[in-house]
Amino acid sequence: MRSRLTVAHPVTEPFDAAATPLLELRGVHAAYETIEVLHGVDIAVPPGSVMALLGPNGAGKSTTLKVIAGLHPPSDGDLVLAGRRVNGASAEDMARAGLCLIPEGRGVFPNLSVREHLRMATYTGTSLSDIEAEAYVRFPPLAKRRSQAAGTLSGGEQQMLAMARAVATRPALLLLDELSMGLAPIVVEDLYARVADIARSGISILVVEQFARTVLGVADVAAIMVQGRISTIGSPNEVAEQLSSAYLGGPP
């Protein structure tokens, strides 16, 4: 059965696909103790692009992000950033270079206020007032809640806060893990509109999602991961054609 999903034109500026990828995985394997979950993953994120990594639950998408962020060591293969093999680099070094992961479950501190979360990004040398100014322009709902504890925000607002804090660190590559988790479809659409806005400012984004419809609308490149391998990679329209077979295991 063919998917009826249609994909809007990418919202980002055209990127140079021939340029050295900002991030590249070459035959990456990863395991939890003796159980291998990634069996040779190959992907490349060109500078200035949005890449969507899709796949069913348990496909290895989040592990892929952990490997990229330096939180889980690859057992084989190469992790290449801007043309340099960086296997073994620590998560701190990756973050310092400009790689920022927003983990599954938002990663906000429930007892800290919105402003205190944004203050965390001042280690980059940017003043809190500048960070707040940008955050409240990108995410207006946060402005009204600046003194409110993050734990009392709605799911969508918490996700916005996580994104605001991440963008304030001036990342070159933003890794988003399951942005839509536990959120209503209308909130997810709103969040992806903001992701598209972030992408327009030149930040490359690798987004991992189970729910493909909205994310394909903002992606330049997409890939489907099944059982620890990339099964399909291409333009969002090409990938949309393969979605149902990838998720349900039927013929394309």
Binding site: P47, A82, A89, A97, G98, V167, R170, A172, G202, I203
Partner: protein, 127 residues
């Protein structure tokens, strides 16, 4: 907006400057630990050999005990060599870097002193 257009170039420079752990360092650490383990195992084998030979009057078994003791000595020697190689090497590297730095600083001081003497000399001769 905070985002600057040259962020990608900046990222590339930061990745190029990133210090990565040298896999050789973990190998050195492993060999140092092997050296320590062999240093401990050698005397233990010696003690076992003593007990073996002491508990029998059979000459053949006592010769076996001698072989075990010699094996213990060999392991201890190999362990000591590994330990010295991989513990002293780190210290020697540091010492060499320090020596190089000291020598460079000393040369700079000499050059500066000679320049001062030359300056005073030329000032005196111009009077």
């Amino acid at each position: 907006m905070i985002e600057s257009p040259d962020r990608v170039a900046e990222f590339k420079a930061e990745v190029a400057d990133m210090r990565l752990a040298d896999p050789a360092v973990s190998r050195d650490r492993m060999l140092l630990r092997v050296g320590v383990a062999l240093l401990v195992a050698g005397p233990l084998l010696g003690a076992v050999a003593y007990l073996l030979s002491h508990s029998t009057e059979n000459a053949l078994q006592q010769r076996d005990a001698i072989v075990v003791a010699l094996l213990g000595v060999s392991l201890a020697v190999v362990g000591a060599a590994l330990f010295l190689r991989y513990s002293v090497a780190g210290f020697l590297r540091f010492w060499l870097a320090r020596l190089t730095y000291e020598q460079k600083a000393q040369t700079d001081r000499l050059v500066s002193a000679v320049a001062d003497v030359d300056a005073v000399g030329s000032e005196v001769s111009s009077r």
